[in-house]
Amino acid sequence: MPTYASLALVAVAVSTLAAAPFYLSDYGVGLLIGMSGYVTLATAWALFSGPTRYVSLATVAFFGIGAYTVAVFSETLPYPLVLLLAAAIGGTVAAVVGLSTLRLAGVYFVIFTFGLAELVRQTVTWWEVNITGTLGRYIFLPFEGRHIYWQLLALLTVTMLIGWLIGRSRIGLALKAIGDDEAVAAHAGIDVTRTKLVLFVLSATIITLVGAIQAPRWTYIEPSIVFNPTVSFLTLIMALLGGPMRLWGPMVGAVPLFLLFEWLSANFPNHFSIFLGLLFILIVFVMPNGVLAKLEGIRKGAAQ
């Protein structure tokens, strides 16, 4: 049960984070945007992939869909409507992908999502070149860094709230059962496919919104920028490091890794993906359930 103390703690943390832009330089705000973006991505990714153990490699497909929707419609539609539209498109794509793959074995889902970003990128490129005749678009929205940051912070808070609510609802229990043993869950009367589908659409919609909110940061976007596969990879590795089975896990993984990646890409831009790959392999070998589970294991070991 949430005690009033922990509620107050969360409220203090959120308001401190919300006030941060007033005390930081532009560079600091930029870091906060990137960090809150990745924490949200990793948390949303883990909403679905944590309990079901279905590894989604399509994060950047949805992220890019969000960013592109903003680029296309920000001139003609009011901003809140653009966000709603982005969420709707992302959710629909997720529903189509989910409906066709989630009733099959998990590996089909992984394979399908693996190439999805490349498919969307090539299709958008084809569309822009052949139908609209432009590649690359400008986004002119009157946002400063802190406005984007506040939106991301709000989205993150909502995402954490959803994660927390799922954890204590019937659907959360159903998810845990599916993660443990799908056959048993199905026999216990859980509609396995529907549960997975709902979660996948929810997670993908949040990821789409992260892309949409962050889009004005770029000013200029084109398919190769917003459909960069590194985003999927970073999200996955952050969630795994922290532990995708826990609500706070992705955040614990995302914050230090984001700072590490910032440093790496500033100092070793050419060797970035080599480090990334090696680090990732190391994480899978050393702490397959994430750092929180590892710490818990160590603490239990010390107590005995």
Partner: protein
């Protein structure tokens, strides 16, 4: 029209070859290798290097790269996959772990290629002359690529269906739990199957590099296509992979010729979606 069918056959032959490699790794060694396409790309760049810097023929490059890929894949299996196999409580857990580790490996290989060769489209010219085949002109390198795919595919079929070692591989593919009862060392077979899969990927890479441009980041697309061919043909079915590879090659060539070259991947995905919706066990697969 006929010209496109011939080109589709050539492309399809290559797809079938690399899909057979993936079948060896996924069907027999039980490892879903997301870095599979990057083995192909490494072989492409290796051939490019040997052809442009040492003026070797791509056929000689084959003699260096295929054994090299065999040794590399064997080492990868020993160092990265064997510990995962040992710790995994069941097949699903192994699948997730191997997907994650090979996803990391993909970024390592891709990063190394980017450092050495950069991100540009690369190609070299080899046997770029037209040959008359039944009235249409096909470039000689494509024709050679097709013949090589047939030779490698045929050799693999022979080994699998006519030798004792091949029978052991098929036994592990069919019944990994019962194979040890007949004195088959499943781990050993898996190691070799994984290495042979890597060698086939490399031979596919040499073949592809003779008639296509390639980039350091194109591995993902090759992995995807190989996976789609495997699923379309039915997991573990080599004949299925052969036919499915050719189907995919022809579909792609026709889409590129009559609709738009930019939509080939979309066409591949449409084929994939159709199989998932209507026949998830593949054309030649039985229910798992």
């Amino acid at each position: 029209m006929f010209e496109h069918i011939v080109n589709g056959l050539v492309l399809g032959g290559t797809y079938a070859l690399i899909a057979m490699g993936l079948t060896m790794q996924y069907g027999i060694a039980r490892i879903m290798n997301l870095a599979f396409g990057d083995t192909i790309i490494v072989a492409c760049f290796g051939t490019y290097l040997l052809v442009s810097a040492f003026a070797l023929s791509p056929l000689l490059a084959l003699l260096i790269l295929v054994p090299g890929a065999f040794v590399f894949s064997y080492a990868v299996f020993l160092a990265l996959m064997q510990p995962l196999v040992a710790r995994a409580p069941n097949r699903e857990a192994l699948e997730v772990d191997s997907i994650l580790v090979t996803f990391g490996l993909l970024f390592v290989i891709q990063g190394i290629l980017l450092v050495i060769f950069g991100g540009a489209y690369t190609s070299y010219s080899y046997l770029n002359v037209g040959v008359n085949v039944l009235g249409t002109t096909v470039s000689a390198n494509r024709l050679l690529a097709f013949v090589m795919a047939l030779v490698f595919g045929g050799a693999l079929m022979f080994v699998l269906f006519r030798t004792r070692w091949g029978m052991m591989l098929r036994a592990v593919e069919l019944a990994p739990e019962s194979a040890p009862l007949y004195g088959i060392d499943v781990d050993r077979v898996a190691r070799y199957a994984f290495a042979v899969g890597g060698a086939l990927a490399a031979s596919g890479g040499v073949v592809v590099s003779m008639y296509q441009t390639f980039t350091a980041t194109a591995g993902v697309v090759f992995t995807m296509k190989a996976l789609i061919v495997v699923i379309l043909g039915g997991k573990g079915s080599l004949i299925g992979a052969l036919i499915a590879g050719i189907v995919l090659g022809i579909v792609e060539t026709l889409v590129a010729a009559y609709i738009d070259p930019g939509l080939t991947l979309a066409a591949t995905y449409a084929v994939f979606l159709a199989i998932l919706l209507f026949r998830p066990t593949g054309l030649f697969g039985s229910a798992a």
